[in-house]
């Protein structure tokens, strides 16, 4: 007898992501992923000046502000065939790499660590033993017994005061929680330290982007940061040196804490390398252009079909035809209607809502279902890391090897590369990518300094819009994976605009051929110990860093949290 479980966060308006699973014999046998809110932002852009699109699209979502701004200007620049000064590339690159690091750290420590860490169990830890364990793993200066003792005291006083604060609603004592009290305490200590670490990334975005959370410095044609070595209020040498301090601090945290913690969680939860693979076609974009055209990138990207890195095919430049011609979106199972049957390419994309109800075999989501040459594809750090390995990208290989080796030595048996095709593998890939991003950021910092030293302070090329119709697309390897904006511009005004966001790729519903998407596929066969507390479903969905229907942000007066309905 199968049992249906619905997880629907009823915070905010109609909620964001709803996941339904059918469980039979203690395992997931069927799954539906449903975006629960309409995102009609594209319609707002129609008829507007393309130079304003970035400022509007960065309001789509609260976490991915910067990434929409960057992708939007890239789309318009692609339509105009406009090259931008390398200084602008370097400044944009530093902003997006800092943003990615911020996202990855916050996602792991503040949004998903509690799926694996039992905070209540940490109260029983011996802080001396915790420090011994921590110091055996890493020479991070904040792994000592004083820090662990203080963390335990802080936790005790917090729990003693009757509030779990940040940790309310965790699945304490759940049978799927496996860490020792000491490892749990170590995780709490690093949770607190991560909050300090993420600030360095935020500071970098603020220093370069003029403002946070919404950057102000992007423009079609470059950036609006004047560069001068001798003036206040612009990008001065003093500010540049300050940036480097933040970059170095992030590097230390990523290498000595984040990558080590991921390896430890992976080793202690090694059984989770068996679950969550899902769709194994991987799609990722190259990023961090170092030339004005966007043909030389610091990190590679492309397509890997069926998990076979031998079949990797690269995407090589802005405007790349392989990516441009492969993308379509289906609304067969989404709450939209198209004016003609079949999926549509984003340039021809339509945004006409057609809400039915939740239909298991019909329409059930506000997300469209994208395909790449007719196939579903998984996007995100895992896709990016696998493409990096396939392309022989040395920093990616170095960090991936470090994580796998550390985890293998903790487990006492070899964890192969193939273990990355999993729920826990997506977390590991995110940490690997954070390491790579920190190097990318530092390289761009050096490139900017070197270029300014040569006397080049240009940061903007003025765009001019022709009469008639032009079209273009921009891509960015965002924290959650491949993001693309597609625009048609007629007589200098936006005639069509479509955003194909990472979570559409991953969380989209069944497609034109009724094939399930990456979220849905990844849930198949996941063990479910307790249908009333489906922690395992959250673990797998959280491993994607889910992010959709992002927009709504209302304070609620009720304290109801997540509705878990087991039928």
């Amino acid at each position: 007898m199968s049992k249906r479980i619905t997880i629907d966060p009823i915070t905010r308006i109609e909620g964001h992501l709803r996941v339904d699973v059918e469980v039979d014999g203690g395992k997931v046998t069927k799954a539906w992923s449903s975006g629960q809110m309409w995102r009609g932002v594209e319609l707002i852009l129609l008829g507007r000046d393309p130079r304003d699109a970035w400022a509007i699209t960065q309001r789509i979502c609260g976490v991915c502000t910067t990434v929409h701004a960057i992708t939007s200007v890239r789309a318009v620049e692609n339509a105009l065939n406009l090259e931008i000064p390398v200084n602008a590339q370097f400044i944009r690159n530093m902003i997006i790499s800092a943003h990615a690091i911020h996202d990855h750290i916050v996602h792991f420590y503040h949004l998903s660590a509690l799926d694996w860490v039992d905070v209540v169990s940490a109260l029983k830890a011996d802080p001396i033993k915790t420090a011994q364990l921590a110091e055996s793993l890493s020479d991070w200066p904040l792994n000592n017994k004083h820090v662990m003792t203080q963390t335990l005291e802080k936790l005790k006083s917090f729990v003693g005061s009757g509030q779990l604060g940040p940790f309310t609603n965790g699945y304490w004592g759940h049978p799927a929680m496996k860490l020792s009290p000491e490892v749990n305490l170590l995780a709490v200590a690093h949770y607190l330290q991560a909050l300090d670490a993420q600030r360095h990334a935020n500071k970098i975005v603020t220093l370069l982007g003029s403002k946070s959370p919404h950057i102000q410095n992007v423009a079609v044609g470059g950036v609006s940061n004047p560069i001068a070595t001798d003036s206040q209020s612009v990008l001065t040498i003093e500010r540049l040196l300050k940036l480097k301090e933040h970059m170095d601090a992030l590097g230390e945290f990523i290498r000595k804490v984040y990558l080590v913690d991921i390896a430890a969680i992976g080793a202690f939860y090694a059984d989770w390398t068996k679950y969550g693979a899902g769709v194994m076609n991987y799609l990722s974009a190259p990023d961090f252009p170092m030339d004005s055209k966007g043909t030389q990138f610091l990190t590679p990207g492309g397509y890997i079909p069926g998990g076979d890195i031998g079949k990797y095919k690269p995407i090589t430049a802005f405007g790349d035809a392989f990516l441009r011609d492969g993308v379509e979106e289906s609304v067969k199972h989404a709450w939209y209607s198209y004016s003609k049957p079949g999926p549509l390419h984003p340039y021809k994309g339509e945004t006409t809502p057609n809400y039915t109800d939740f239909q298991d075999d019909g329409k059930y989501s506000w997300l469209k279902a994208p395909t790449f040459y007719g196939e579903r594809a998984q996007v995100g750090p895992l896709a990016n890391v696998l493409c990096g390995i396939a392309a022989g990208h040395q920093p990616t290989i170095t960090y991936a090897t470090k994580v796998l080796d550390t985890a293998s030595s903790l487990l006492g048996s070899k964890i192969p590369l193939a273990a990355l095709h999993s729920t826990i593998g997506r977390h590991a890939a995110r940490a690997v990518r954070a390491g790579v991003m920190q190097e990318v950021m530092t390289q761009n910092w050096q490139a900017l300094i070197d270029n300014i030293a040569k006397g080049d302070t240009t940061s903007f090329n003025k765009p001019t819009f022709p009469k008639g119709e032009i079209m273009g697309y921009g891509f960015h390897e965002a924290p959650r994976g491949l993001l693309s904006h597609w625009t048609v511009i007629r007589d200098g005004k936006i005639a069509n605009y479509q955003c194909v966001v990472p979570s559409t790729w991953n969380a989209g519903p069944r497609d034109e051929n009724d094939k399930i998407g990456p979220y849905e596929a990844s849930l198949m066969d996941n063990p479910i110990a307790d249908a009333e507390q489906p922690l395992e479903v959250l673990r797998t969905i959280h491993s994607f860093d889910p992010c959709l229907a992002c927009a709504v942000h209302v304070v609620e007066d009720n304290k109801e949290v997540v509705q878990v309905k087991a039928l």
């Binding site: 976490v63 503040h110 940790f167 946070s212 959250l538």
Partner: protein, 160 residues
């Protein structure tokens, strides 16, 4: 004394963005003393952490659904504000309450917090307030100004 005024919400969804419209209106109408920092927080949560941490007073303007008539302005302070973390399936649910909970756990909570919650009328996709909410926007600004005055701050209307 450091005072932070944080307007949050999504300006692409009509009244969802009322908090942002309110702080922009405040900046347009008043000259504020330098102790006051005004932030357009958009839909971000954790990204505002730095600016908010350690403030003496935090004033927040946001849409709030409290099952009241559209346009009703509710003033909440201190413990009335839900500073708890929600179980999250999406990071976009890292909202104000999560940010406050994080500050609390770190001992960086602003000493006084006041939230002006405005009951919304519409969440349609559009970059302007619904007429009913636009009409009460000046009242929201007046309430923020009155709050600043009770803190002993000098707030002056801009010269016309």
């Amino acid at each position: 004394m450091r005072v932070v005024i944080l307007g949050v919400g999504n300006i692409l969804l009509t009244d969802e963005g009322v908090g942002v419209y309110a702080v922009n209106e405040l900046l347009a109408r008043y000259d504020l003393p330098e102790e006051v920092e005004v932030i357009d927080g958009g839909t971000s949560g954790m990204d505002c952490l730095d600016q908010v941490s350690g403030a003496d007073h935090l004033l927040i303007a946001d849409a709030m659904r409290a099952k009241k008539d559209p346009g009703t302005i509710t003033r909440l302070s201190g413990d009335q504000i839900p500073a708890f973390f929600k179980t999250k399936i999406s990071p976009h649910q890292v909202g104000i309450s999560d940010m406050l909970a994080a500050l609390n756990f770190h001992g960086l909570m602003p000493a006084n917090i006041v939230l002006f919650g405005i009951e919304p009328q519409s969440f349609a996709t559009a970059m302007e307030l619904s007429p009913g909410i636009a009409a009460i926007l000046p009242q929201v600004v007046d309430m923020i100004v009155a709050e600043l005055k009770t803190l002993g701050l000098s707030v002056r209307p801009k010269a016309a």
